[in-house]
Amino acid sequence: MREKTDGELVSAALQGQTQAFGVLVTRYMRPGYLVALSVTGNPEDAEDVSQEAFLVALKRLEDCRDPERFGGWFLTIVRNRARNLLRREHLRRGEELTPEFFPGPGGPAEDLKQLEIREQLAIGLEGLSEVRREVLLLHDLEGWKHREIAVRLGIPDGTVRSHLHFARKHLRDRLGAFHGSAPSGEES
């Protein structure tokens, strides 16, 4: 059976069809979380922000001018809300506007080595720009293609490839340094 397009699901959700909205949530909950994580660096904040963003999107669904591009529109809501949260947090603490990556909660059986890898990963991501983190996570964790990322983030296809290349190199260097190789840092 053919998968419904975002446009079809948005039209049904506009009429209050729970199932259609549920499919949109399934389709974009992980990308939403990853974009929020790219901005805030905090798994708990990313969860809250991406969850709230779905409700905001549902309430403002009429504002989605091109329902076929719901994904890009929704990720913009996530990004803006995550930035606002980060701004509020840093204003409250009087710090600079940079995300501080938390390794996130580990499983009960996680050993010390695993915890260190998670910490190194968090440090590695901190050294990347927000857009590079987004591209890296959407490509390598969510499995989106270059073209899908380009359309949904509103950047050229070649730029996506370039961001992904540098982000991967940076992370390999960081984790390589942790494993004993020489690091090189992120190129800009």
């Binding site: 959700a13 506009l14 009429q15 209050g16 069809q17 729970t18 909205f21 549920g22 949530v25 399934t26 909950m29 992980r30 979380y33 990853l34 994580l37 798994p43 969860e47 969850q51 779905f54 409700l55 549902l58 309430k59 390794p103 996130g104 909660p105 580990g106 499983g107 996680e110 695993q114 890898i117 998670r118 990963l121 991501l125 890296l136 996570l137 390598d140 964790l141 991967r168 992370l171 390999r172 984790l175």
Partner: protein
């Protein structure tokens, strides 16, 4: 390092990798919070009686007009051609069944009579 390795090293960032029920719970929470808004949209989408009538009117009016036009064309097509009335035939039709004389006859004969005589002869009194 391969693409697969790149992916694998990022896995700890996915909350679902450590907690398989994470995304199911996430989905459930979003849907629970969206329930009121979805219900509101459903209510707004349901038609009132007036809206149903209005929707029917949109269909009924053009269909009725079309049916009336077709019926008119059909009736006109079925009618026998009527010969045009000549002035003489019209005059005869006007005076047919009238008792006494027709107005033109009265006028023609009694041009010099007064009004009372004219009306009397025309059967006005």
């Amino acid at each position: 390092m391969s693409d697969l390795d790149d992916r694998r090293q990022l896995e700890p960032l996915d909350p679902g990798s450590e907690d398989p029920g994470f995304w199911i719970r996430f989905h459930g929470r979003v849907m629970a919070q969206a329930r009121d808004e979805l219900a509101r949209r459903q209510m707004a989408g349901e038609w009132s009686i007036a809206e149903v009538v209005f929707q029917w009117r949109k269909i009924l009016v053009p269909v009725t007009l079309l049916a009336a036009t077709l019926a008119g064309i059909f009736v006109v097509g079925q009618e026998e051609p009527v010969p045009p009335l000549s002035p003489i035939a019209l005059e005869e039709a006007l005076v047919e069944g009238l008792a006494g004389e027709s107005i033109p006859t009265v006028l023609g004969r009694t041009a010099e009579l007064d009004e009372v005589a004219f009306l009397t002869s025309a059967g006005g009194f």
